[in-house]
């Protein structure tokens, strides 16, 4: 269990550094991929119902990293990810209605909704958000299939 936690923390740190340095060069209309948010969303999305407590530590890790690079204070991203994480699980439980599967058709719309709300909350609404959403959607879709395959092999 602790190995998994260490790997997750390591991934979050690498992703945070990548999105703020490497991927800054790959901006399209000012949009860059928010890898930390995507990884957080992915982990929460695939978290089993009985391990919902993981949302707390995932929010803290992802939120601290996002806040370190973006804001003067630590907290805004932690709190918003925490609320978003629990709302996502709630939405999933309503949508899945007992079935234990993670279809892409649930994943992508939920990602778009949560990411759009997150972006609007922090950056306000502007046309740049559309580019931001589309760009991140591509990464989120790719991550979904990588994660599913990874789980298949590690399960």
């Amino acid at each position: 269990m602790w190995q998994k936690t260490v790997v997750i923390i390591f991934l979050f740190i690498i992703f945070a550094l990548l999105q703020n340095s490497f991927f800054a060069h790959f901006s399209i209309f000012g949009a860059t991929p928010n890898l930390v948010f995507i990884l957080f969303f992915l982990l929460v999305f695939f978290a089993k119902k009985e391990t919902n407590y993981q949302i707390i530590y995932l929010s803290v890790i992802a939120g601290i990293l996002l806040d370190i690079f973006s804001y003067a204070y630590l907290g805004p991203s932690i709190v918003s990810l925490l609320i978003g994480g629990f709302l996502l699980k709630k939405a999933q439980s309503m949508l899945k209605s007992g079935r234990d599967s993670y279809p892409f058709t649930y994943y992508l719309p939920l990602f778009l909704i949560f990411f759009a709300i997150y972006e609007i909350c922090f950056l306000g609404f502007n046309l740049g958000i559309i580019a931001e959403i589309i760009y991140n959607m591509v990464f989120a879709s790719a991550f979904f299939y990588v994660y599913k395959r990874w789980i298949k092999y590690t399960a």
Partner: protein, 284 residues
Amino acid sequence: MKSVGNFSINKKNKNWPKILIGVVVFLFLIFILNIFVAPIKNGFHVLSLPIQKTFWTAGEPSSNFFGSLFNGVYLSNENEKLRQENQKLLSQVAALQSITQGNQAQSDVSTSCQNSGFKLVMAGVSGLDNDILSINKGSGDGVSEGMPVISQQGVLFGKILRVYKNYSDVMLISNINSVVNVKVQAASAEGFGEPSKEVDGVVKGSGGLTAYLDLIPVDAVINSGDVLVTSALDKSFPKDLLVAKITQIQKNDQKPFQQAQISLFSDVKIADNLFVITNYKQTK
């Protein structure tokens, strides 16, 4: 059935104090974290700087590589060279225009600015997020909040937003909270020798590494290709620093001011090193 419902409600009622305590503890921990926010951020940045700098350095050629799939490597390099050369020339034009407009004393100040008359601290760029740039110089290097940040071509990038011991955050002029007073300089060669009426405006950041020109009087004549330089009206920046070029004018008779789309000279993607002006006196 009724008793089951009551049990459920009671269970929920019992959980509320626990949730409330959890929320309070969580918020308290965040509060504690914020007491140490400066050392946490500084420490993380110091530890991650080598990796971040490596990623940043790797990003530029990678970006060029993928860009070259569309444009060709040669065009990319050539474009970069021309851009730098163009910025230098525009910088000289800006200084010379001030001279032709007659105020020798003021132009001396602007020329000295263009020629590194200010005390500069060179800083390496290490990260970018939401129009906030991270540089590897902090309070230990004499950097403090509000200091202007420029490139070696005299292009304005922004000003220092937050300072930590070993690094600083720079608010780019494209940041949504950024407002810079500028003056418009005619791009045409004919206007170079003749003093023209100075047009003042404001460059407002719109996020996503873009900005726009605003508050240009309706009767003022501006054209696509005109260059915007700092006017120092608000004393935040030295005058005559290059800011942007007008690309498209948006005139609306119902509005009291003209707006224009602009192309910023500050290209963050190719900025490896920037300069912080540490001795420019600001009036707040």
